[in-house]
Symmetry: C2
Amino acid sequence: MSSPAITIGPRVRKSPFYNATIEAGAQAFTIYNHMFMPTSYGDTTAEYWAIVEGVSLWDVAAERQVEIIGPDALALTQLLTPRDIDKCPINRARYVVFVDENGGIVNDAVMYRHAENHFWLSPGDGDVLLWAKGVAAQSGLDVTVREPDASPLQLQGPLAPRVAQKLFGDLATELGYYQFCHTSLEGIPVVLSRTGWSGELGYEIILKDGSKGTALWDLCMAAGAEFNIQAACPSLARSMEGALLSYCSDITLNDSPFTIGMDRLLDIDKPHDYVGKAALQAIAKTGPERRLVGANFGGEPVTPNQHFMDVKFGDDVIGHVTRYCWSPRLEHNIALINVPTAFAATGTTLSLDAGDGWREAEVVDIPWVPAEKIIPAFD
Amino acid sequence: MSSPAITIGPRVRKSPFYNATIEAGAQAFTIYNHMFMPTSYGDTTAEYWAIVEGVSLWDVAAERQVEIIGPDALALTQLLTPRDIDKCPINRARYVVFVDENGGIVNDAVMYRHAENHFWLSPGDGDVLLWAKGVAAQSGLDVTVREPDASPLQLQGPLAPRVAQKLFGDLATELGYYQFCHTSLEGIPVVLSRTGWSGELGYEIILKDGSKGTALWDLCMAAGAEFNIQAACPSLARSMEGALLSYCSDITLNDSPFTIGMDRLLDIDKPHDYVGKAALQAIAKTGPERRLVGANFGGEPVTPNQHFMDVKFGDDVIGHVTRYCWSPRLEHNIALINVPTAFAATGTTLSLDAGDGWREAEVVDIPWVPAEKIIPAFD
């Protein structure tokens, strides 16, 4: 059958960039944080190459921000994450996870620190707004948790700094990795941030006035025209190459930060209380029962999986594929798989259900392609 | 343009009934509680008449249940809702709302009481799981909050009791409105409940073994064949006729239970503490600033709105349409509109953006069609 249609109705919000993306030829969508998000302009391989070799603009307004503000905003944010965010300077971002009482991951997010007691969380798909409000409700803290008027675009690819410099001047090229600032573009208020979900050089341009979506989109596309900017979507292949994980597939509530190898981004023994502290301290002692690891496999380009696929060791199903795809530049198939720790060592040979049969796969170190962080000099 | 496609990938779960609904001809989907949910088999008017005059089977597994269990399950559930649920007997269901610290609605749900300290919440679209876990996290209560293996089908329409009697015997017809029981069907464990989202007679059949989706679907369709059962989806027109509200469109975090006229289902002064108590007690004194009310309007059958549409009084935009559609049996257009209390009185004349121009609309009492609750005797 052909792909089913997506029903467009008022229960799900349209992004401020929705009309612009339809105009640009968006052909498929998903729903993410109660908002439509484009997933394809018809040729995902072309989008991949634009991201990897050129520059691309993505509507990711569905990264709905969660704002934590007020006298106890720092205290609540500390309570929400095992990372010690006292260490995060203002106008810097950090990758954080939130865990429940069992140490299971509620979501992951880029955290922006706007002021001593003012944060935005930019989470994956899931109502982190409700999680944060729920934790706050019985905490006795004096804090407001709400959704701000904030809708990210991503400008991603090796030529992204060129486009950003045209738009924002040297501000864009002087901004360090995971730094951000509040600025504006022809009167449109935005946050410009050296973050993104491509592993390539890039920016998030976070619109702070939801009525100006088409205007901001058009400014970015116009500035990028000389660099052949392409409207694109978050790339399955590029995100996998960079081991950029996706909440609800690679990461679920059943996984602890140790499962996904985020140990280095935790301060589990920080002096502050946080939800899940005892659970994470216990897991740290024993090690996680399961691991999310990479695997390479051969054969024809695999059709990306629609749901979790079985992973076997010998004849026994021991785990599952969270995502797999063909990597156009590595020219082989790559997978993220969730397996017991005993089968997670690099070099382990497993087999996986490739949709059209079982294929042998070998556990490998990830990421396949490390993140680009340094903007080279250009004229 | 034609409808955009929906991307099927592992970030969003497939319902246990997914394969059966594809087989039955599902042509459009939405995403609801991180799960694909069919929205059309190609002719929503035919589906409407099957629901209103015959019998229909819906995949609403995306009504993901939230289980609250443990020594303090009653205490946590009391903390979550302004309704006094001490009054709810075991094996009965209640409609409940959850509110935040401002009295804004976090979600609404059918609450099933399985035992003194064992509840399921069957919410609208939103991570009530995270809300409940978040509130529990700092509450000091001894309780587990989790998602059970529980996936509802709805069997809805005036002939639903006939089909249910074939499947379950007299158990089905003896069950009172908002009563339920645990039972099984050819070894498949289910909850059978006299609840649903059609306003017609009907049941929810909640599958308790996610591996048996196709088997349960096929049993229901086979039993319904002699009654010409149709695969169908939640009906925009029928839900609106019954003023069955939808979270994220008719109800949002900006609305209090008073806004949506749920006053009679609240016990705001109950002796137990609950999140939002002070806020609701304050709103009860002043009355809500806005109201969700019904409106009739004429002209050609309106195209259902894709997003909120403006409502005017004179030349001023004073509110918005949450949903509107043509009612096939009332033979006029109906709308749910959110307006300031001053414009909410029955008989008020307003105008609304019908997509192809402004049309005059008159505020009316809702529901347009009251719920059917009594199963008539049949042979």
